[in-house]
Structure formats: structure tokens, C-alpha cells
């Protein structure tokens, strides 16, 4: 074991790598862990800079014991992802703190590798992986600088060498990725502590909920249509449906068991929804979903597509929807009761509704006159509406008259219910951005929307979007298109810089490619791969065999290429054949000195052994031609090799000499 002390340079390199690896966990590690690691590294570097060694043993032990106690105090365990990562980061930092010999640095380096891999348990984004590869590269380079003798190679050479090692590892990684048996269900769940998926629709709707959401630029889901997408006015992505209203907030309620079947009309739209993880179990499908390819997926009584568990990881769902349907069945009493439930609060609204209903006894007439109120009265559409408390619908309808889709949907639904017409609010998304670089649609949180469905006898559920009565262009473009210039919106500056928006779309397309090709490669994909390789009835056992074969091939290739590099002289058949010829002649007593040219050698052989002269002269001449001549020699290397193999000089016997 090498006990030479390590230089400041080495410490600096490995500290930088550790800092980068810990940075990959920034969101998940407790702050005190980050501070401890940073201080440990900083103090050690400062000491090394001043040419001093690590702090005394007692201090180191005390710090370590304290750190371990703190981890236990915080997590109540050393198991699990969070506690394990915190412990690993702390130990790496404290090892750096006491680093004296190369051995200590090796341990820190190994911890960096582990920390990097554990970051992949938190997220599987393409950018994280790219970042981790950079860490891996730098760490390997700093390790190389430490392991080689003398002062070690400079950074540039070490980086080049480490890069080569990484590239050589690529075929191995590829073989393992393609062929390592996949489990149908993941061994561990990604952390579901609620903080990771903060934005998104929830199962309640209060005034102001959606306007906060619309400020967020996060992607909710992406959609790839198999053929042409539906027209913009029909792109309503259905989410949770709200039935219960307490005067301020809408909530979900009993959804009435299985959904009554709908009669599709018009064209079917087939598409794949790539959902981002969120806290709930619904999947945003185009209004109205008819078929879907999702294990455990079903429609709720109000036609929302859901799965059994919350979406803890990204999934792709293939869905078929019809934008036009007929609802032949009558509304069940239970559902009617639910959607016409008596309303609390908002007395002015109820009073107004009763007056209006008296004038319009017909449901459709009444509906039209309510919509007319929104178009004719000075209602404004804004992202920053005044705060409403208490009887929010009263305040909105009669006082402020400024609101966003949630306000309008809520007010409209209340007015409908007050007149005894069944109505509920549907939340979801509307529209989306087309990514022309990869032919799919991006639906962001900023596309969040709320609309109303009312039951008209004989027609079934009708989708009414009261917001479109205020600002019709709101429904035709994205939310940003309908907003006035003084509205604060993240995406406004993007409209002003088209190239930036383009770049963002391109990056998104890259991420989507990563997701479709890499992350969603599963057991089925492996089976298809084996089928493609013409392996009948693919199963786990055959997969392992193919993997073993592939790994063997890769290792053979690596060995061969390394050997070729170490022994370049062996790489050419010509040189092998020529050395064989020289060996045969050496065996009969005429060795070739290394500096002697082939033809000079032939002449010397001819002098010593006239009987061999012509053959050897011809062979050596051929060798010269093949090795030094212009391309297009008369004989090939293989022929020369055969001729050398056929050449069998006999040792000169005493009789022959005489």
C-alpha cells in the first residue's frame, strides 16, 4: 500500500467531484448535512493549502459520532433512501476531512460513485443522467491521476484517458441495458413525500386555485396523436369532476359507480398520453375516452379515466376518444340529486337565479340567458382577480366581475343548480402546445382549465365553457393568448423571443425521446428484442443466456482491442508470416539481426546456403513489395503467408556440406 501523503492538487480534485455529487442531491438532503459536508471539505482543503495534515483523531471521532447521531435523530433509521443518502454523503465528507493517504481518497472516490448512482433513485431525468456522467468522468480522471506512479498525468491526459475508459464501457452498458432481466414491477417506489409533485390539479376547486396553477410552466403531460388531432375547440382534457359546493369550494363526491355507456359520434381519435407523476390517480384523456390500454384503468361514473394507485412514476397510456357522443340513458335519481344538491350561501345569486328562472322556464332558454349575462355585462377576464372570501359567487357576479375560468365555471354551475338544472364542474386542461420538432403536444399546468357540464333532458350532459363567453379567443389559443399585457405570466417573455421557445421545444423533444426510448424499455420490449433476434419463445432464462453471450462478446472485443494496442506487431498477418520465415531460417542457423532488411538478409542467406537462395530471395522480395511497395502488389498477404508456411528449409547435413 502506497503511503505517500496526497497533494493539495489531488484533494482539490476529489473535493470538487464530491461537491458535484452532493449537488445532485440538493433537493433531498437536509440542509445541515450539506453544510457539514461543505465545512468538512473546506477545512481539510484549507489545512492542506497551509501544508498541514488532517485534524486530530479525537476531533474526527467526535464529529463522526455527532453526525451519525443527528442522522438517526432526524430519520429514526439508517435504512431507506433519504437516511441512507444522508449517511453516505456525511461519511464521504468526513472521510475527506481526515484524508491523509491515497487510500482515504480511494474511499471518498468510491463514495462519490455510490452517491451518483443513488441520485438516480430520486429522479430519472435525462439531464440528471448527463450531469452524473460528467461527474463520473471527472471522478475517474482524478482517480487516474492518483493511481499512476510518479506525479501522475496532467488533467488533460487524465481526462482523455478517463473518457476513453467511459467510452469503452459503453458497449457493456448497452448490453446490460438491453438484456438485463427487467422486473414487471419496480423494486422500490420513487419517493412519494408530496413535495416532489407540488403543482397540478387537486380534488378541490376554490376560487384562485387555477390562477395560481396557470402561472406554472411545468409540463402536466404530453400527447402524441396517431393521426390528425381534433380541432382546437374540442381539445378538452378531462380531469377530476367536482360536485359538492359549500359556497366557496367545490369538492369531488360519489361518482355513481360505472359510467353509463356513451354512443360515439364522429371520428375516433387515437393517441398516447405520457403522464408526468402527480399525487392523484387520474389520467387526463380527451373528452370523452372510450378505450384505453392501462392495467387497472377504469372510467369513473363521471367519465374520468383513473387507475388504482397514484401516478408515482411516468407512464404512457394509449387511449381512444370521441369528441362527440350521445348520452341515451336517463340521469339516475342518485346522480340527479347529487348534481342538484341544495346550495348554501350566496343568497344574492340564488335570488337572481330564481328571478331569471321565472322568466325562462325552458332549460335551454335559461342556459342561454345566463350565458348572455356574461357576454353582455362588463365581466373581465384576468389572471389576478381580487381575493374573494365567504360568498364568493355573490361577490364575483355582482361586485368584482373579474375572474378566471374557475370563477366563471363556479358561478355558472351555481346559477344552473339554483334553477334545478343538474350541473357539475369539470377540471382539466384545454389546448396544448404543438412541438413541431417531434410531432407531439405539450400540455402544461398553464393550460389548466375548468368548465361546466349541465344535464339537458333529451340531450344528456352538455359541455358549457362559460369562460369562452367572455373571451372567445381564450379557448382558441393558450391561456397566455387571452391575457392582457399587464398580466404577470411566466410564458409572456417566451412569446417575445421565438428562438427561445423553439429551443425549449427542442429540449422537450429530446427529453420525450429519452423517455420513450430509454425509460419505457421494459420486459415486453426485451421480449420483442429477443423475437427480433429470432429466438423462439423468449423467456427470462433465454434472456440471461443472450445477455451472457453478449457480455462475453463485448469482453472479447475489449480484450482484443487492448491486446492489439499493446502488441501492434502482432496485428498484421504479413508481419507474423515474415517473423515465421525468419524463425525458420534462424532454426537452420541463419538468424536475422533486427536491423537487417529483408533483401539484404536474402543475399546473406544465399551466400551461406545457395540451395535455399532462390526461394528465400523470392519470399523476401515479396515481403518487401507487400510491406513497402505501392498498393496493388501482385500477390496477396494470404498467398505470402501460405508460401511461408509451405517453405521448409532442411538443416544442412554433414553429407550435403561435403
Amino acid at each position: 500500500m502506497n503511503h505517500k501523503p496526497i497533494s493539495f492538487d489531488h484533494l482539490l480534485g476529489v473535493s470538487a467531484c464530491l461537491a458535484m455529487a452532493v449537488a445532485a442531491h440538493l433537493g433531498s438532503l437536509p440542509v445541515w448535512v450539506l453544510v457539514t459536508v461543505a465545512m468538512a471539505g473546506g477545512i481539510r482543503l484549507l489545512l492542506a493549502y497551509r501544508g498541514r495534515s488532517a485534524p486530530p483523531r479525537a476531533i474526527r471521532l467526535a464529529v463522526a459520532a455527532l453526525a451519525i447521531a443527528l442522522v438517526f435523530a432526524q430519520f429514526r433509521t439508517f435504512n431507506g433512501l433519504s437516511a441512507g443518502t444522508a449517511l453516505l454523503a456525511l461519511m464521504a465528507g468526513l472521510k475527506l476531512f481526515e484524508a491523509e493517504t491515497p487510500r482515504d481518497i480511494y474511499i471518498v472516490t468510491l463514495s462519490i460513485y455510490f452517491l451518483s448512482v443513488s441520485a438516480l433513485l430520486q429522479s430519472d431525468s435525462f439531464w440528471l443522467l448527463a450531469y452524473l456522467i460528467v461527474i463520473l468522468w471527472l471522478t475517474t480522471a482524478s482517480l487516474l491521476r492518483l493511481t499512476t506512479r510518479h506525479s501522475g498525468p496532467d488533467w488533460r491526459r487524465a481526462l482523455r484517458y478517463a473518457g476513453r475508459i467511459l467510452v469503452q464501457g459503453l458497449p457493456l452498458a448497452l448490453a446490460l441495458w438491453l438484456l438485463f432481466p427487467r422486473l414487471a414491477a419496480p423494486l422500490w417506489h420513487l419517493p412519494d413525500d408530496g413535495s416532489s409533485a407540488a403543482t397540478g390539479l387537486s380534488d378541490t376547486l376554490s376560487p384562485g386555485d387555477i390562477d395560481q396553477l396557470v402561472q406554472s410552466d411545468e409540463v402536466a403531460f404530453r400527447v402524441r396523436f396517431a393521426a390528425a388531432p381534433p380541432p382546437p375547440l374540442e381539445r378538452y382534457w378531462r380531469g377530476p369532476v367536482m360536485h359538492d359546493f359549500d359556497g366557496h369550494t367545490w369538492r369531488r363526491a360519489y361518482s355513481g359507480g360505472a359510467a353509463p355507456p356513451l354512443q360515439p359520434q364522429g371520428p375516433a381519435y387515437r393517441y398516447t398520453v405520457s403522464m408526468e407523476p402527480h399525487r392523484h390517480n387520474w389520467i387526463f384523456a380527451l373528452d370523452w375516452p372510450a378505450r384505453w390500454d392501462l392495467p387497472g384503468g377504469r372510467l369513473t361514473g363521471d367519465y374520468t379515466l383513473v387507475q388504482r394507485d397514484p401516478l408515482s412514476r411516468p407512464i404512457d397510456v394509449a387511449v381512444t376518444s370521441y369528441t362527440h357522443v350521445q348520452n341515451p340513458a336517463a340521469l339516475g335519481t342518485l346522480l340527479r340529486k347529487r348534481d342538484t344538491a341544495p346550495l348554501r350561501g350566496n343568497p344574492r345569486t340564488l335570488q337572481f337565479a330564481h328571478t331569471l328562472r321565472a322568466q325562462h322556464p325552458d332549460d335551454v332558454e335559461y342556459l342561454r340567458s345566463v350565458l348572455a349575462i356574461f357576454t353582455q355585462q362588463p365581466f373581465y377576464y384576468t389572471l389576478t382577480p381580487p381575493k374573494l372570501a365567504g360568498n364568493s359567487v355573490d361577490a364575483f357576479l355582482f361586485d368584482t366581475k373579474r375572474g378566471f375560468c374557475g370563477h366563471y365555471a363556479s358561478a355558472f354551475a351555481v346559477l344552473m343548480r339554483a334553477a334545478g338544472i343538474p350541473a357539475h364542474i369539470v377540471t382539466g386542461y384545454q389546448g396544448g402546445t404543438f412541438n413541431r420538432f417531434a410531432d407531439y403536444w405539450i400540455v402544461r399546468q398553464s393550460d389548466a382549465h375548468a368548465w361546466v357540464e349541465v344535464w339537458i333532458e333529451g340531450q344528456g350532459w352538455l359541455r358549457i365553457d362559460p369562460t369562452s363567453a367572455i373571451a372567445p379567443n381564450r379557448v382558441e389559443q393558450s391561456a397566455a393568448g387571452a391575457l392582457s399585457a399587464d398580466e404577470p405570466l411566466v410564458s409572456r417573455w417566451q412569446r417575445r423571443t421565438p428562438w427561445l421557445a423553439d429551443t425549449r421545444l427542442r429540449l422537450d423533444a429530446l427529453g420525450q425521446l429519452w423517455r420513450e426510448r430509454i425509460l419505457l424499455f421494459d420486459q415486453d420490449s426485451q421480449s420483442r428484442l429477443l423475437e427480433w433476434l429470432h429466438i423462439p419463445e423468449p423467456d427470462g432464462q433465454k434472456l440471461v443466456l443472450v445477455m451472457a453471450a453478449a457480455l462475453t462478446l463485448v469482453m472479447c472485443w475489449l480484450t482484443w482491442s487492448v491486446r492489439r494496442e499493446i502488441e501492434p506487431a502482432r496485428r498484421e498477418l504479413l508481419l507474423r508470416a515474415y517473423s515465421r520465415l525468419c524463425a525458420k531460417l534462424a532454426a537452420v542457423g541463419i538468424p536475422r539481426p533486427l536491423h537487417e532488411g529483408a533483401e539484404a538478409y536474402a543475399m546473406r542467406v544465399a551466400e551461406r546456403r545457395p540451395d535455399l537462395g532462390p526461394t528465400v530471395a523470392a519470399l523476401c522480395r515479396q515481403y518487401s513489395r507487400l510491406r513497402y511497395g505501392a498498393a496493388g502488389a501482385r500477390i496477396t498477404v494470404a498467398q505470402f503467408d501460405a508460401a511461408v508456411r509451405a517453405f521448409r528449409p532442411r538443416a544442412r547435413t554433414r553429407a550435403a556440406r561435403a
Binding site: H595, E599, A600, S624, R627, G629
Partner: protein, 303 residues
């Protein structure tokens, strides 16, 4: 056999009839000429240096001039001088002996460094610049300089930097007994040279020089040349290694040698054949015997 080959063989045969028993040296001289290099012959007087130069000029159909270098030689004596012409009232440049296709610079080390460098600059640049006017030298232009290593008193030996301008240095040496016998019994050499027929011409010589550059050089051979050059830079016993110019010259000489040998590609033996002549005068050796150069070759395996 190509016409080029016939021509080369005829030239060699004819010169061999005049200079007896010096086949290798004559071959090196022709190699140097075809490689567009200049030749330094280092030997005592009376071994046939002048005869050799004259025989080459005659056989190849080149214009020939001989300059005897002495301590009072001036650059103008070599390059030429501007003379006032009274009739035309203008200066007229009187060309010096250097304006010939083959120049024999005899005993170059006896002249002053000033005169030496006048010659060497003309050799390098293939032109003469006087009074701000450049005059090209004839083509081909080939200098054979001789140097007498024996008497060092009152001489100015060429420094290494100047020696580097000569592609090769050869020694003629005493003739072998049989050749000497023939010399003594045969016809007067001067008459023999005067009676020589012209085999080649300046044009055909330039064609041959162009052919030299067509001789194939394989990467394997370049490896060998580089290994040799690298060895001279690291080997003990040498004060200075080969310059890149020397390496280029060595490769070109090897190509010319291959052409003379009738080959279309250079092989390591060709490099070895010209190695001593190209290298010896460029590396300052503590041990300057021919065996030392042979040791250099032996130390480098053919890759």
C-alpha cells in the same frame, strides 16, 4: 526495362570506365544528383575528384565550370561582377563561373568564409543576388565541392551549419590494386574524358529528377526513417542529432537510390545504403570512423 533505367545504367557504365573500381561512390554521386542535392567529396588531391566531376558533366551533357578556391578568392570571383561598358554607357553583369550546370568547387576549405558563404547561399537558393538583382542559376544546378582534410594550416573548415547544405559527403579513397594497375597501364584519363560521348541531356536529367519523387514511400518505411532520426537524437556518442532537413534529404536520397536500383518503392536497404553518406558529416561524432555510423544503423531495428 524502362528507358530511364537504360539511361541510368549507361551513365553508370560509362563513368565506371573512367573512374576505376569506385562503383559505390559513383552510384552515390548519381544518387545525389538525381535527388537534387549537392555533393561534398572529402579526399586528398590526386584521387580523381576533378576527373569524376568532369566525367559526369560530359556524360550528362551539362555545362561545366571549375573554381579553384584560394585564400584570396572573392565572392565576385565566384558569382560574377558588374562592369561598366563604355560603349553603351551602362553596367553589364559579367557572369561568374557559378553560372554552370555542374560546378566543381575545388578545395573549398581554403577560401575565406566570405567566399564560402557566397557559394553556399547560391547553392541553397539556386539564384544569385547582386546589386539587388536576382539572377536564376541554370537548371539543373549541381555543385561538387572538394575538401582536403589533410593540411589544416591556413584553411577554414566548413562549420556544421554549412555542411548541412550538402546532401552527401563521400570519400573516394585510394584505388584498389587491380584498378590502379589499369590506371597506370591505360590511356591518359584526360583524353578519356574528352572522348566521352554525351548520353543524357539536361532535360532528360530533370525528367529523372522528377521520377525520383514518384518512387513510393510506405508508412512502414517512414516509421523506419523516423526511428533512425530519433536514434541519432538520443544516441550517446553524438553531439548533435539529425535535423528535419537532414531527414528529408535522407528520404529523398533513398528514393533516388531506389530509382537507380530500378525499384518503384523504397525499402529499408535503400535507406541504409545512403545513410552513411547523408549522416556522417551532419552529426558531430566523437568517434568518426565508418564503424560508428554502422553502429548507428545496427542499433535501430527495422519496424
Amino acid at each position: 526495362m524502362s528507358t530511364a533505367q537504360t539511361e541510368i545504367d549507361a551513365v553508370l557504365a560509362q563513368i565506371n570506365r573512367v573512374i576505376l573500381g569506385k562503383d559505390a561512390q559513383i552510384r552515390l554521386c548519381l544518387t545525389c544528383l538525381l535527388a537534387r542535392g549537392h555533393l561534398l567529396i572529402e579526399d586528398i588531391p590526386g584521387v580523381g575528384k576533378t576527373t569524376l566531376a568532369h566525367a559526369f558533366a560530359k556524360t550528362l551533357g551539362l555545362s561545366y565550370q571549375r573554381v579553384q578556391f584560394t585564400s584570396d578568392l572573392l565572392p565576385a570571383d565566384v558569382l560574377g561582377v558588374s562592369i561598366y561598358d563604355r560603349e553603351t554607357g551602362k553596367f553589364r553583369f559579367q557572369r561568374g563561373p557559378i553560372f554552370a550546370q555542374l560546378v566543381l568547387a575545388d578545395e573549398i576549405n581554403r577560401a575565406s568564409p566570405k567566399a564560402q558563404s557566397a557559394l553556399l547561399e547560391a547553392m541553397e537558393e539556386h539564384q544569385v543576388t547582386l546589386d539587388g538583382e536576382s539572377m536564376p542559376l541554370p537548371k539543373p544546378f549541381f555543385v561538387i565541392a572538394t575538401q582536403n582534410p589533410q593540411d589544416q594550416v591556413g584553411t577554414f573548415p566548413l562549420p556544421e551549419s554549412q555542411l548541412d547544405r550538402f546532401l552527401m559527403r563521400v570519400h573516394l579513397g585510394y584505388p584498389a590494386a587491380a584498378a590502379e594497375r589499369e590506371l597506370l597501364s591505360g590511356v591518359e584519363r584526360r583524353d578519356l574524358v574528352n572522348a566521352l560521348s554525351t548520353i543524357a541531356s539536361a532535360d532528360s536529367l530533370r525528367a529523372l529528377q522528377a521520377r525520383v519523387l514518384e518512387v513510393h514511400v510506405s508508412p512502414a518505411l517512414l516509421d523506419y526513417v523516423q526511428a533512425l532520426v530519433a536514434h541519432t537524437r538520443h544516441a550517446s556518442g553524438l553531439n548533435v542529432g539529425l535535423s528535419p532537413r537532414a531527414a528529408i534529404g535522407m528520404l529523398r536520397a533513398a528514393r533516388a537510390w531506389a530509382l537507380i536500383a530500378g525499384r518503384d518503392a523504397v525499402i529499408p536497404e535503400h535507406v541504409q545504403a545512403v545513410f552513411a553518406a547523408v549522416v556522417e558529416h551532419r552529426v558531430r561524432q566523437r568517434d568518426s570512423s565508418p564503424a560508428a555510423v554502422a553502429r548507428l544503423l545496427e542499433a535501430v531495428p527495422i519496424p
